[in-house]
């Protein structure tokens, strides 16, 4: 067998294809809207220090309605202030940093663990596969939120604990996807070629199999990111969220929702922010899937 002819597609080509699929996104209107929403929040998060009109934790002028003017500085509270007088717009802008830091971080860690487990299970098979699959099945049988609540309420809420809890609950799902992809890909010619070349198992798993499994994984990651954002929001809403006073959308909603009847702006805007970001990721995932089906 000619080993050169059937080796894995060159990496540069892979990168080019990834870029090309991004431009392909133009063909999906839904995907474009999603990408725009996500991009909007990412830009906001990156430029928060320059964009936010106020310090997000400064208690300035309680219960200001949207459009009210800060007496001391003359600046406007475009979205009003909360019960402690903190500017809601600034908190939403800074809060996008929090959520866009923790959600991707948690997802990324979950992916690292899930991919590792999945590759091992799918490529090595045998008892490794059996053990890992059983463990995954057991964790997946837990209703997710029940799991989060018990973990967070027992060990306490902190950024690290939320990342750990999300990894624990999501990694098995990712593992399942990677495993089934690996099961399929391990029989490809280029894998066989690498095996004949005498490459190590890890090299084959990470260099030959993983890059070729990326399509479905990217779609799944977008969906999962959306869900993780909701989860962090739910935890914040239940009072198990990230420690205050650093702005976090879920906690903002939780802190003000009892006042929503009299001051809807306090709760409405963070809800819109959170939903729009989740929507962005979901639409993006849909667009990507559409394109991958077309390919």
């Amino acid at each position: 067998m000619n080993t050169v002819a059937v080796s894995a597609p060159p990496r540069a080509a892979g990168l080019w294809r990834a870029l090309r699929s991004l431009t392909l996104l133009r063909e999906s209107g839904v995907g474009m809207v999603g990408a725009a929403l996500v991009l909007f929040w990412v830009l906001l998060a990156l430029t928060a220090p320059w964009l936010a009109p106020f310090d997000p934790i400064a208690t300035l002028q309680p219960f200001a309605k949207p459009g009210a003017v800060h007496a001391a500085s003359g600046s406007t509270f475009w979205l009003g202030t909360d019960h402690l007088g903190r500017d809601i717009l600034s908190r939403i802008i800074w809060g996008s940093r929090t959520v866009l830091f923790y959600a991707p971080l948690a997802t990324l860690v979950a992916y690292l663990v899930g991919i590792l487990m999945g590759l091992l299970a799918g490529y090595q098979r045998g008892w490794v596969d059996d053990v890992l699959s059983r463990v995954a099945d057991i964790i997946l049988s837990f209703p997710v939120l029940v799991l989060y609540i018990i973990i967070i309420a027992t060990v306490g809420a902190s950024g690290l604990n939320i990342v750990v809890a999300i990894t624990f609950a999501s990694a098995p799902g990712i593992m399942r996807i990677v495993r089934s992809l690996a099961l399929d890909l391990r029989n490809r010619d280029y894998v066989a070629a690498a095996q004949t070349r005498g490459e190590s198992a890890w090299w084959i798993m990470l260099v030959e199999i993983l890059p070729n499994a990326r399509g479905p994984l990217i779609v799944d990651a977008c969906l999962r990111l959306g869900y993780v954002i909701i989860t962090i929001g739910v935890l914040g809403f239940l009072g198990l969220g990230l420690p205050p006073p650093d702005p976090d959308w879920g906690s903002m909603i939780n802190e003000t929702r009892a006042m929503a009847m009299a001051f809807p702006h306090m709760t409405l805007f963070p809800c819109i922010a959170l939903s729009s970001l989740v929507l962005g990721f979901n639409l993006l995932a849909d667009g990507l899937r559409e394109i991958s089906l077309r390919d």
Binding site: I138, P143, L145, V146, I150, F237
Partner: protein, 310 residues
């Protein structure tokens, strides 16, 4: 067939055991903290030591685990720390209430989401398909707590059409069921509809349906007689698995609307570190989840002849 069912049931038992061990370790490995939770913040060191001694907490961990498991299997879940009544007394009625809520949700969710999914999947890529898809994505993107806040702002405070809480304190009330059910339906609807759509679209691509259409059979007949039967197998599994999702959803909704259900009980138990109640609630939640999965697997086998003869 029988061996398949036995295998599934065996796996269920193993899962429950593993979960019980996990829970036990998470909540009871630190005996000092157990005593503080049970006796309260004002208890003295002596009281705690005495209590631990009386309740066998100085025995080795594995002895404690098996004795705990034994009690658990015989239906003795201990007493709630906060409410000071046997856990079982609180748990079953709450579970029944959640079942009522779930039944109401499914009664609307299943026909509605299947109808939307089938309509969308019948003609993939059509305007109807795209609008249904986008609608589904939007509803799944709005978390339950956000829709709960705004639905109650509109229907309770602004329009005053619906009662604000669903405690059913004056007996069963259909009106009180509407808001919690609506929030859950909105969130889950999109997901089930999209799954149905995918399955329907797949079936529509099969040779057998294409041939039927090419043969000139009436479209309506093809859909109703042939496509639906096959397309609904996948959503069946999805719906069974939806029970698992619903268990998460009811936590937020029941808490928000003060519905006396299982989810609110679990949340309040966790927030109050009511350990015996947490243990029982978590075990029940996992049992329900695992049992429905097992049922889904077995049911799927009955419905799908291709798997049966593997």
């Amino acid at each position: 067939m029988l061996s398949f069912i036995l295998k599934r049931l065996g796996f269920m038992a193993v899962t429950m055991l593993a979960v019980s061990l996990l829970l036990f370790l998470l909540l009871e490995i630190n005996v000092e903290s157990v005593a503080t939770k049970v006796l309260g913040p004002y208890s003295s060191e002596e009281q705690r030591t005495l209590w631990l001694e009386q309740h066998g907490y100085f025995q080795p961990l594995y002895v404690r685990y098996f004795s705990w498991l034994g009690h658990f299997l015989s239906g003795d879940f201990g007493d709630s720390v906060r409410f000071k009544v046997p856990v079982a007394e609180m748990l079953w009625p709450r579970l029944a209430n959640t079942a009522i809520l779930a039944a109401a949700v499914f009664a609307v969710l299943i026909p509605l989401s299947l109808a939307l999914g089938v309509l969308a999947g019948m003609r993939e890529g059509s305007k109807l398909d795209r609008s249904i898809s986008v609608f589904s994505i939007v509803t799944t993107s709005i978390p339950e707590f956000a829709s709960a806040v705004f639905l109650s702002a509109v229907f309770v405070f602004w329009l005053a059409w619906l009662p604000g809480t669903s405690g059913m304190t004056a007996g069963f009330s259909f009106k009180e069921l509407i808001l919690p059910a609506l929030v859950l339906i909105l969130y889950d609807l999109g997901y089930v509809a999209r799954m149905t759509r995918a399955s329907m679209a797949e079936v529509m691509q099969t040779h057998y349906i294409r041939t039927a259409i090419l043969k000139g059979l009436p479209y309506r007949q093809v859909i109703l007689r042939h496509a639906l039967r096959n397309a609904l197998i996948a959503p069946f599994t999805v719906i069974m698995l939806q029970i698992n999702w619903l268990l998460s959803g009811v936590i937020v909704v029941e808490f928000f609307f003060a519905y006396k259900g299982f989810g609110a009980l679990l949340l309040e138990a966790s927030l109050n570190q009511d350990i015996y109640l947490i243990e029982a609630c978590a075990m029940v939640a996992v049992f329900v989840a695992v049992a429905t999965q097992t049922l889904a697997d077995i049911g799927y086998m009955f419905l799908n002849p291709r798997i049966r003869f593997h």
